[in-house]
Amino acid sequence: MNTVPSALLLILVPLLPLLLVFPALRSRFSRPCYIALLPALILLAVPQAVSIDLPWLLMGSGLGIDDGAGRLLLAMSVLLWAVAASLLHSVNGKPVDDRLTSCFLLTLAGNLGAILATDLVGFFTFSSLMGYGFYALLIAGGGAETRRAARVYLVCLIVADLALFEALLIAAATARDLDFEAVRQAMAQSASPGLYLSMVLAGFALKAGIWPLHFWLPLAFRSFPPAVALLLGAVPVAIALLGFVRWLPLGEVRLPALGLIIQAMGAAAMFYAILAAAKRAQPIRLPACAAIFASGLFTTFLGVGLGDPVAWNRHGNVAYFLIVFLGSGVAVLVIITGWRRARGHYPTMSGKPVDDSPPWFERWSGALTRWAAQVGGLSRLCAAWRAKVGGLRQIRAWQRALHGSERFLQRWAYAITLFLLLGIVVVFAGASSWI
């Protein structure tokens, strides 16, 4: 296969869904979500590795797909998106809301693009596109509780993006070329990779909802429409985990201490997931627990990789399989629980009032606003009022003084006196300078 069509195909994979986001452009197609997946499907059929450099894009970006693991990931994503698309269409038996479709396609573009990205900036761009798209998908598709979860997710997303941006800057300052491979090598040789590593770890942990940064995950699974919940594993979590693999200098550095900590955290996460699953005993939460468990497993593996580069080089590809397993496993679980719920196996939680109050992190700003309005506003108002009145009084006083003295100057007696005085002063001043 020659390069031009394959390059075009690569670009089309994220571009076509992006174009279809606009309702005007997709109105001719009956099933735009499937059409959006077509280029990716064709790309999967192309047997060899393809890649393309886009030097004029952003800071010089690229897209590409290798032969092995990346292809597997792409295949998993395409499959899940196709399933989700079918659910999207068949949920209510009627064509879905335009906005929902737009958000769906936006997220899809981000997801596929992130898998294909060959450099940090491209990955970052697509993953944040995916993140915001997914947020919109949650909001547009869900009820009150979902919105709450979505808001938590959004905050995690913003903080994570900030952390990753810092990491990106550090990488750019160190490596100059932002290819995954180049960054990996440069960071391995860097004198102080600590900040970079911690930023990457924190950022993607937030995005993936890894314990202990998992606030939004359980919330999210509770009440999503199945089409969205299905994607939870494959979209934010899987891409974030992929981010770990792509961004960290795995197999190049040897950081036993850090590796150990991460392993411990992974183990704790798995423990937590099991505990939570056992304690709550609500099968509807099972997918969430499973996701936390699986990401814990992945974390443990990551810790091993960081501590022992040799092991990583030998078994590194397992990571991709783990991601695929996680993504598809969560999806299967969601489908099963959804199906069982639909069959009435679990009582719905209708009795419980839905909590639509804003989450805690939004409350503080509201409280702060109110407080500022009360304290700052009031005192500022008082001060302004007082200053205004005082200022007015002062201006009046000045005006009066000026008028008075001007009248004083205009009286002949004073004017003549001043005039003569000035004459005397002038004579003396002139004289004194000559003497």
């Binding site: 030097p55 894009l57 913003i158 941006f165 800057l169 550090i170 606003t369």
Partner: protein
């Protein structure tokens, strides 16, 4: 007078002459006025295109008129000025279209468009000024040309805003005048020179030079809305939307920021000002401004006020970029000059559309507005994400270079300022987007005007869409030839290569 020496004059005249003619047009000659406006804007764009091509290929366009013995009125097209000239002339064209649509049927339009053209002329003059005194001249002209635009509506509020604006800017201009004159007596020249013309002075003058630097920056900082000189900007937002757009994106605020760039680069020289120890305090002021502006924006309910405080914060990026001594940060600062303009003008256009079509002025009234005016809100969303610095939009590119420059220059604290600002940006923009897209619209809008099947008039809708597209394109195609980023790199190469 040859073509090379007349071209800067032509560029100025292409907005000045239409403006002067428009002043004398009767109110009801709408067609002639619009034609004149648009013809001037297009002509200017064409001339600027010729100019930028020439500058890139090494031509020197320079107009010199004697102002005083030994002091010329100098208009010169160098690479830095071209950055600003292109921004102004492109956005002028867009804003003119918008203003024509916005002011349809309102009184005193001839006066408005006359001053509008004068304002752009002054901005172009600021950009093309080849020495400090020419800069000062157009800088003050800008003050005078903007005042009528701010008070155009003639309400008490507008007059108050105009008064505040004048108090600030005229005082600032006075400081600038003192600084300039003082500098002239010391150095005997004021011509902008790459890497400055002051480093050769005797070392005993250094103390005085610091004082002059403070004077100049204080004078320019008024327009650039640096803390604590920003008080006029939030008030000035009472002006009509096209004016706010122009004020915040191109004319006034940018003239101040551009002036600071000129002073630091072409008067003092970056290395010399760093050796004087003035860049770090300025960077700190800029950083404080960034954070403070965002904090204030968070608590505003009036949409335009929120955007105004956002401008306070965003413009300081430019200052921050050039005061972090290093080529990468400089690229970030310079490119933000363009990017901020494009993004902020989009936001103001959209705010104007909301006010004009639905009567919405406050954030709290924006629930569900995305369903009524989807295209406007798409533009708004793109620009807002650009402001936050989300890739691949324009704001990301500037932030990227700023951050990279800070690391490069060994000033890591800047990264945290950037991060904090992004966070705050998200905190005051995302609730707007959430309300607009996902909350249920009210039963009836405050003051809805009908435009047939469309969401609003074409002249109001096209400009924000164009600038939103630019926001996307500037970020996405940042590395393409002739992008602002490449041009900023071109400028910094000149500044940094010995």
């Amino acid at each position: 007078m040859s073509w090379d020496s007349a071209l800067p004059l032509f560029v100025l005249a292409s907005s000045l002459l239409p403006g002067l003619v428009i002043f004398f047009l009767p109110e009801e000659r709408v067609a002639i006025r619009t034609t004149l406006n648009l013809a001037g804007a297009v002509l200017k764009l064409a001339l600027v295109g010729v100019m930028i091509w020439g500058v890139f290929h090494g031509s020197h366009y320079e107009t010199r008129l004697p102002l005083l013995p030994g002091l010329d009125l100098l208009l010169r097209a160098d690479s830095l000025s071209m950055l600003f000239v292109v921004l102004s002339s492109v956005l002028w064209l867009v804003t003119t279209v918008y203003a024509v649509g916005y002011l349809e049927g309102s009184p005193n339009r001839s006066r408005f468009f006359g001053f509008f053209s004068l304002c752009v002329t002054a901005t172009i003059g600021v950009a093309l000024a080849g020495n400090l005194v020419t800069f000062l001249l157009f800088y003050e002209l800008l003050t005078l040309a903007t005042y009528p635009l701010i008070v155009h509506r003639g309400t008490d509020e507008a007059r108050r805003a105009g008064r505040t604006y004048l108090i600030y800017t005229i005082a600032g201009g006075a400081l600038l005048l003192i600084g300039t004159a003082w500098l002239y007596t010391l150095s005997g020249t004021l011509a902008f020179t790459a890497r400055g013309f002051l480093s050769g002075l005797d070392e005993s003058h250094n103390g005085v030079l610091v004082v002059i630097f403070v004077l100049l920056i204080a004078g320019l900082g008024v327009k650039a809305a640096l803390i604590p000189l920003h008080g006029w900007l939030p008030q000035a937002m009472v002006a009509a939307a096209p004016v706010s757009a122009l004020l915040h994106a191109v004319a006034v605020v940018k003239a101040g920021a551009f002036g600071i760039v000129r002073v630091v680069y072409d008067v003092y020289g970056l290395q010399f000002s760093a050796s004087l120890g003035v860049t770090l305090p300025l960077a700190i002021v800029a950083a404080v401004t960034i954070i403070y502006g965002s904090m204030r924006a968070l608590f505003q309910d009036d949409l335009k006020r929120r955007l105004a405080f956002s401008t306070v914060s965003q413009v300081a990026y430019i200052v921050l970029g050039i005061t972090i001594v290093g080529p990468l940060a400089a690229v970030g600062g310079l490119v933000h000059l363009v990017h901020q303009g494009v993004m902020k003008i989009t936001l103001f256009f959209c705010a104007g559309n909301l006010a004009e079509t639905l009567g919405i002025h406050n954030v709290s009234e924006m629930n569900g507005v995305g369903r009524r005016m989807p295209w406007t809100m798409v533009a708004f969303t793109v620009a807002a994400f650009g402001m936050i610095g989300t890739p691949p939009l324009a704001g990301f590119v500037s932030k990227w270079y700023l951050g990279l420059g800070a690391l490069d220059g060994g000033q890591g604290w800047v990264i945290f300022v950037l991060a904090g600002s992004s966070l705050l940006n998200a905190a005051y923009f995302l609730p707007i987007l959430y309300a607009a897209w996902f909350k249920a619209p009210p039963d009836a809008w405050l003051a809805e005007r009908s435009f047939g099947g469309r969401e609003t008039a074409w002249a109001l809708l096209a400009p924000p869409l164009v600038t939103a597209f630019l926001t996307l394109a500037l970020g996405l195609l940042a590395s393409a030839p002739f992008s602002p980023l490449q041009w900023a790199r071109f400028i910094t190469r000149l500044e940094y290569t010995p």
